[in-house]
């Protein structure tokens, strides 16, 4: 497993627009140029590159939980961490089961966890190289009145975050989950 962690001050920020950069000379922690809360550090990004197997998904959950532990003023942080851990975990298992469909050593999932200041939110992007595409709108909701063997995964993802976007292009599937904090 390769793990890279990027935090402000020691990383390149290739996708950062001029409007998001702090003014020269301004402290990146103050947030004065963007109005972001000081404790959020304006542009906190963690990147993980995990093998597409179930074995190491616990690392993703632990990473997300620790990342959220650095955010002040969250209401019900333990429940929030659990819910987001479950949402990204379910997205990964969906990628493993349905996008890749088989375990091969070269199959990877690239995950980016990004704290955005305005509106204060956590953006979780998950990317695979499995190709293909599927139509989210065609995934049936589970019948919750009866126990289901399948079908809870996407229901949980949709229920636990504020936005779920999926797109497929150039052989990549990209999931983008957004949770307002």
């Amino acid at each position: 497993m390769m793990v890279s962690s990027k935090v402000p001050g020691d990383v390149e920020q290739p996708d950062r627009s001029p409007a998001e950069r702090p003014a020269e000379g301004a402290s990146s922690r103050s947030g004065s140029s963007t109005g972001c809360p000081a404790e959020m550090n304006c542009y906190d990004t963690i990147r993980l590159d995990l093998p597409a197997t179930y074995k190491y998904l616990n690392i993703l959950g632990a990473c997300l939980t620790e990342m959220l532990s650095r955010v002040e003023g969250l209401s019900d942080p333990e429940v929030l961490a659990y819910n987001l851990q479950l949402a990204v975990h379910e997205t990964c298992t969906n990628i493993i089961n349905h996008a890749y469909g088989e375990t091969r050593p070269e199959n990877r999932i690239e995950i980016t966890l990004k704290l955005e200041p305005i509106p204060r939110s956590l953006i979780m992007e998950l990317q695979d190289t499995a190709g293909g595409a599927f139509d989210l709108s065609k995934i049936a909701e589970p019948n919750l009145e009866e126990g289901q063997i399948h079908g809870y995964g996407l229901f949980l993802i949709r229920s636990l975050v504020d936005e779920v976007n999926y797109e497929s292009h150039s052989g990549k599937n990209i999931w983008r989950l957004v949770k307002k904090l």
Binding site: Y54, G61, A81, Q85, H89, T93, Y152, L156
Partner: protein
């Protein structure tokens, strides 16, 4: 006076997993369920009080046991996880309607 006394023993299996029940661990749990079902065990208590994380694969394992047990004339009762967030997920997915969920093993035993 003649008395006929018979003894009726109800066998209930209490299974208490600890930690995570997720896609990585769920196959092992299902295997355990199949072993017990293969021995004609049909009544189960799944004590989730020490479960810290439950994903959809774990939920599917619980439902598969429930279906198999009920088909054989038995049942599965749950004990609530202590983890509040896990409780909320069980309510969100309406597991509290599909299963009887008790506060502890004693209450689950008495619900059979």
């Amino acid at each position: 006076m003649e008395l006929t006394i018979t003894e009726h023993i109800v066998r209930i299996n209490i299974i208490a997993p600890q930690g995570r029940i997720d896609a990585f661990c769920a196959p092992e749990l299902r295997k355990q369920f199949e072993v017990l079902l293969g021995k004609n065990e049909i009544k189960f208590i799944l004590d989730l009080s020490a479960v810290t994380f439950l994903d959809s694969a774990g939920m599917a394992a619980l439902v598969s046991l429930l279906k198999a047990a009920r088909e054989a004339g038995g049942d599965v009762k749950l004990v609530w996880p202590k983890e509040e967030a896990a409780q909320r997920i069980l309510r969100l997915t309406r597991f509290d309607r599909v299963f009887d969920i008790a506060d502890n093993q004693k209450a689950a035993l008495s619900s059979f």
